[in-house]
């Protein structure tokens, strides 16, 4: 299986290298959103603080969002929608490798590429700007790595499962857009969850949105501390990962039976 993944990742990178401009565009997109959010909160915070967040806290938060969002984001619903509607799924189904593996390999390739560049950006920024430096605490980094892995796996299954809706509807990507829009607020992309109205923040915590991004970000910046809070956060991630995995299994086995195998 390692050989197969190596070959899939290699091909994904080879394709990327054909499109240098698009790499830059994706990167700009990944940097712009948190940069704008940071700019706004920077102005609002002024010399004081908002909800306990001073300028330096916002800077750390949005740098962490920038990195962790790139490490956990999944585009699979768009790919799957096309595979299903255009019949590109056909040859993937006759290969002795589940199409989800190709999607996972694509994710690894994408994340390794964009996140490594963002990491360099961050290191350069941290060298010049003490505010965005993080404490060198190996334990915290290790926990964050686990939380990022769980979040990435969950977002993969959310995206893949939503893409599978293309077996039934032509609007699968619209559903994913809607989810992305909601997660802009509920996952903490636009503001730390601590600053949201308590009712909204509790919805984010009760559903999977906090586990997607805000929790690993808070873990990295130190906003989540204490064994209790960390264990609860990780448990919620595992729970939601399990739920979405289940949803994926159901959608896959039903969808594949329904599949019209377009093209003739």
């Amino acid at each position: 299986m390692i050989k197969r993944y190596a070959a899939l990742i290699r091909n994904a990178w080879l394709v990327d290298l054909q499109y240098r401009a698009s790499i830059v565009l994706w990167l700009l997109w990944g940097v712009t959103e948190p940069a704008i959010a940071l700019g706004i909160w920077w102005a609002i915070a002024g010399d004081g603080s908002v909800g306990g967040y001073a300028r330096a806290d916002f800077a750390r938060y949005f740098f962490a969002v920038m990195l962790i969002n790139q490490l956990t984001i999944a585009w699979d619903s768009w790919y799957l929608d096309r595979w299903i509607r255009d019949g590109e799924l056909n040859y993937r189904l006759v290969r002795p490798l589940h199409p989800a593996h190709e999607a996972v390999a694509e994710n690894i390739a994408y994340k390794a590429r964009t996140a490594s560049v963002i990491l360099v950006v961050w290191l350069l920024a941290a060298a010049a700007w003490p505010a965005v430096r993080l404490p060198l605490d190996p334990g915290r980094w290790a926990l964050t790595a686990v939380a990022v892995l769980l979040a990435a796996a969950m977002r993969f299954f959310i995206s893949f499962t939503t893409g599978l809706l293309a077996f039934w509807t032509t609007r699968a990507t619209a559903i994913m857009e809607l989810h992305a829009g909601v997660s802009l607020f509920l996952a903490g992309r636009i503001a730390p969850l601590a600053l949201l109205p308590p009712a909204v923040a509790s919805v984010a915590g009760a559903l999977w949105f906090r586990s997607m991004l805000a929790f690993p970000v808070d873990l990295l910046t130190g906003a989540v501390h204490g064994t209790d809070a960390i264990v609860r956060g990780l448990a919620a991630q595992i729970l939601w990962l399990g739920m979405w995995f289940l949803a994926y299994r159901i959608a896959w086995s039903r969808g594949i039976r329904k599949y019209g195998a377009v093209g003739g």
Binding site: L8, N11, V15, G87, Y91, V94, R95, P96, G263, G264
Partner: protein, 336 residues
């Protein structure tokens, strides 16, 4: 030897949404969607033996591709039983998938932005092909398909014919004993079509592979298939050799004449004179084509030879397209 493909009472019904035209119809469909059953394949039964090349014949929407996709495990049959390469396709998993190849003329697996060799390398990894085998098979396929210098060009720069050849290479590197080809020559020029046909026969002869194909091109069928399965509106109308089908459907034979002499006054052969022997299809001296009843062909030929100075004479079946058209129009059973 056991059959490599068995289909038993195979049926597939699609549910298709129906709506009345216009805005009102669209709104009604939104709230109360209505569905209609489309019987794409109905109660189809056949067996295919190892090493056969079998063609599915039928107009668009006849159920050819649907049948092929059920055999390849892409579609779940509504009812019936299928076994292919020793497996029930949709539960066969990777062991089944290693034993088949599916080539779709209008869908490609080659990575568009990379040279075809990258897709081959990917498939080497996916199918766990040992390096020695990979190199030997690639060399063989490249030689048979005369692919030489295209392996390093990005796929998007290849011609349609080159792409289809590379598609075949990608699909055959794992040496499947059972090949499903859906319109493998679609859109190709005559040279490329012939190259693909030559290749398929050579490949079958060398490796004993079984080939099931659908095609719109009659030449594909006459050149490749020892046997045809004729499908229309989801039903299997005929299963057997192509020439037997022709004999059953075509009530006539064509006698093609090349007349001798100079056509001058001494030996004037007139259209009227020829027409006395059968239905004169065309006459441009020295060529003439007569259509006669099948059973009369030998006797009429003898009489023609006696009556006119004939340089050459041949007895042919009517063009195959004509026979197929007739078969679908009348139904095959009529002349049994």
């Amino acid at each position: 030897m056991p059959s490599i493909v068995t289909a038993d009472g195979l049926s597939k019904t699609f549910q298709v949404k129906v709506r009345d035209p216009g805005l009102r119809g669209a709104v009604r469909a939104l709230f109360r969607p209505r569905y209609r059953d489309v019987l794409a394949v109905r109660d189809v039964t056949f067996r295919i033996e190892p090493g056969e090349i079998v063609a599915f014949l039928g107009p668009n929407g006849a159920g050819k591709t649907t049948t092929l996709k059920m055999l390849a495990g892409l579609l779940y049959p509504t009812s019936g039983r299928v076994e292919a390469a020793g497996f029930v396709p949709w539960t066969g998993g990777p062991p089944f998938k290693r034993r088949i190849a599916l080539v779709l003329g209008n869908r490609q697996q080659l990575v568009w932005d990379l040279p075809p060799e990258e897709t081959f390398l990917l498939n080497r990894a996916i199918y766990d092909i040992p390096d020695v085998d990979y190199r030997a098979r690639l060399a063989e396929l490249v030689a048979l398909l005369e692919l030489g210098d295209v392996l390093q060009k990005p796929v998007r720069q290849l011609s349609l014919g080159e792409r289809m050849k590379c598609e075949l290479v990608a699909s055959l590197l794992h040496h499947p004993p059972l090949l499903f080809l859906d319109e493998p020559t679609l859109g190709l020029d005559v040279t490329a079509q012939e190259a693909i046909r030559r290749f398929l026969i050579e490949y079958r002869d060398r490796h004993g592979a079984t080939v099931l194909l659908t095609s719109h091109y009659m030449q594909d069928v006459t050149a490749l298939a020892s046997r045809v399965l004729m499908i229309n509106r989801g039903r299997l109308l005929y299963d057997g050799a192509l020439d037997v089908l022709v004999g059953r459907i075509a009530r006539t034979k064509r006698i093609e004449l090349v007349l001798g002499g100079d056509g001058g006054d001494g030996h004037r052969v007139t259209a009227e004179a020829l027409a006395a022997f059968g239905d004169l299809k065309s006459f441009h001296f020295p060529n003439a084509v007569l259509e006669v009843r099948r059973e009369d062909a030998p006797a009429t030929s003898a009489r023609l030879l006696a009556a006119f100075p004939v340089a050459d004479l041949s007895i042919e079946d009517p063009p195959i397209e004509e026979v197929i058209r007739l078969a679908f129009a009348r139904g095959v059973e009529e002349d049994q």
